[in-house]
């Protein structure tokens, strides 16, 4: 029973939901660019619609993570995550990701403010 549950959790966490999320986010960005260029929507509305797709996708990932973690809760806390996450960056650069992305985000926000 326990082994069966563990195998099911292993199967679930091996699903590539991250790639599906990246495709969704990419589609949202393409949509925003297309409707802005064609004049269907102003760029502020289109930009925020893309942001809705982004946060909605992140919410979906968080809910998936929560779902897998709930199933695996009697075994371990981190079964929703893969064993190893490889980031194609130098090791020293990883802690700098959040401040750099924050600065980029605030500049993009400034663009929509302006």
């Amino acid at each position: 029973m326990v082994e069966r549950r563990r195998r099911r959790v292993e199967r679930l966490r091996s699903l590539r939901v991250g790639w599906a999320a990246l495709i969704l986010i990419g589609a949202g960005v393409v949509y925003a660019v297309v409707v802005t260029i064609t004049g269907t929507l102003d760029y502020g509305t289109a930009g925020f619609q893309a942001a809705v797709v982004l946060t909605g996708t992140m919410l979906g990932l968080a809910l998936w993570d929560l779902f897998v973690a709930t199933i695996a809760r009697s075994e371990a806390a981190y079964l929703a995550l893969p064993q190893r996450i490889k980031v194609p960056l130098p090791r020293e650069a990883v802690p700098l990701l959040s401040p750099v992305l924050f600065a980029i985000g605030i500049l993009i926000g400034h663009q929509y403010w302006h």
Binding site: A51, V94, S98, H110
Partner: protein, 177 residues
Amino acid sequence: MATNTGTEPALGFRGVLSIAFLGLAIGILLLVLIWTVTAAADPAAAGCHNAPLRMTRVPQLLGILICIAGFVLGRVTARPKIDSRSQVRSWVRDRNSTREHARAAVFVQACLAAALLFIACLIAFEAVTLNRGVWPITYYMRCASEAATWQTLAAAFAFCLLTGRWMWLPSTPKDVD
């Protein structure tokens, strides 16, 4: 319930600095909140245009720099509970009860999902109001910036300082692949 068997380390300079900056940020936010409530009740208080002006008394670049300065200051003055990911592993291994830790992790994940739901709703509201010509949330920020520029900048600085304290990634240990 897990118990802390070790003795708590003494609060050093870093700890005092961290608490002082946390108090500073919370103090600024509270002062701005009190000022906002007071100004809102005063008919003579400064208002803003409809739509609020994009250009204020100070250059926008200064606002961006203040926000980034707050974020960086929050980051360097924070006293992180965990310095590296290897500490997380040892911390988890040392716990007596996996089940208890898993329950806590599920709770944190549920809080993260709830926070993302809240943010997604706010951004959706922004997109809908922008599309329909109703004041979006950003207009209220712009109105505040127009009517009370320095107070708004102070609040933005304090908010970014708090963000900088909590939005960080622990360093990657050198002894693992």
